[in-house]
Symmetry: C2
Subunit: 209 residues, 2 copies
């Protein structure tokens, strides 16, 4: 394990080109690849809406999938905790995986609280023009009143520290491509709005040849 | 950043179910999801063969993609070096990402030297029955004679340390599902063997309902 190898390592890495190519993959899939990033408070409905849209797109034959931040913590991010550094690294990994799915011409939904603007800005910078941000803007009082998993109760009692919206900040998006208000509509209505939104961004059709 | 949160964190994580389900995704895709793991020396032809198979499957409309170990080092693993610990973590991340693609009903090809048996065994254990191992068994002397990137020359001169096959071991698979000998055949022949192989494992058709 010499230092020479550590120094020499990066130049040995050669980028292997995708033989099929992104545009061809999208033409075959019949739609574009994209990363649809749903941000919002715990219990806002991010995952529920993402799964509803995914189910509709999947049944239409689209290549779609949901990357749930919490599920990733059971696998790829299982070595990470909840310190700020670890949260940043977790979101970085989610971002890189999402980008790979978009390269594979998949419409990839990320459901992640991702509470800081700079955190989501990094994801947008890495993913580029494939990144679409949806703010699932259910108000704190609604999320807290429902609290199906009892997390807000535990956060208020101090049993859980640094809980977004209670003892840690949530920075609302200022540049989200879509804002949803699940507190005023059914899940089906929110899902339909996301489908219309994707259509308006030309995601649901192949790229122009 | 209290200890209480670190301790409490895991129980807050709830696994979010895939609303569509793996079997339904595969039925819609018309084929199974799988991780096809190509192992072998540097320059053995892993990536070339993987990309050849991917191109054929993609043109057939299959959901396939290549995860090239070296490309992942430009993104998801950009924070990792080449110490043994970092190599293990890199392969762990590749494994977890590959598993996600298989869950999305993608035929995912991993091209990775992955020189140790225990390293590939871990990948097989995590991915389970979706894991298919292909040994791209081009002999060292052939890889070294071709050496298009000059890596073997630099490894022999000591400029690159711990280079697999030269100054670091490569443990040949004992339980690979397929062994290829690219030194005795064309790329097209190797690619055709992988297609036949996938067919024989029923990967290229939807699961029985």
């Amino acid at each position: 394990m010499s230092d020479a190898r550590q120094i020499d390592a990066p130049p040995n890495l050669t980028w292997q080109l995708d033989a099929v190519g992104r545009a061809r993959r999208e033409a075959i899939a019949g739609h574009r690849g994209a990363v649809v990033w749903l941000t919002g408070l715990s219990g806002a409905g991010k995952s529920t809406i993402a799964r509803g849209v995914d189910a509709i797109l999947a049944e239409r034959g689209a290549r779609s999938f949901v990357l749930d931040s919490e599920n990733v913590r059971h696998g790829l991010s299982r070595d990470l905790g909840f310190s700020l550094d670890d949260r940043v690294e977790h979101i970085r990994r989610v971002t890189e995986v999402a980008k790979l799915f978009a390269d594979a011409a998949t419409i990839l939904f990320v459901a992640a609280i991702s509470p800081y603007r700079w955190m989501r800005r990094r994801a947008r910078d890495v993913i580029g023009h494939d990144f679409l941000e949806i703010h699932v803007a259910t108000p704190l009082e609604v999320c807290e009143a429902q609290d199906p998993r009892g997390l807000y109760r535990r956060a208020r009692s101090g049993e859980i520290a640094d809980f977004t919206g209670v003892s840690a900040p949530y920075e609302e998006p200022v540049d989200a491509e879509l804002v949803l208000h699940p507190e005023n509509e059914s899940v089906e209505e929110s899902v339909a709005k996301v489908i219309d939104f994707l259509d308006s961004f030309n995601i649901l059709r192949p790229p122009l040849a």
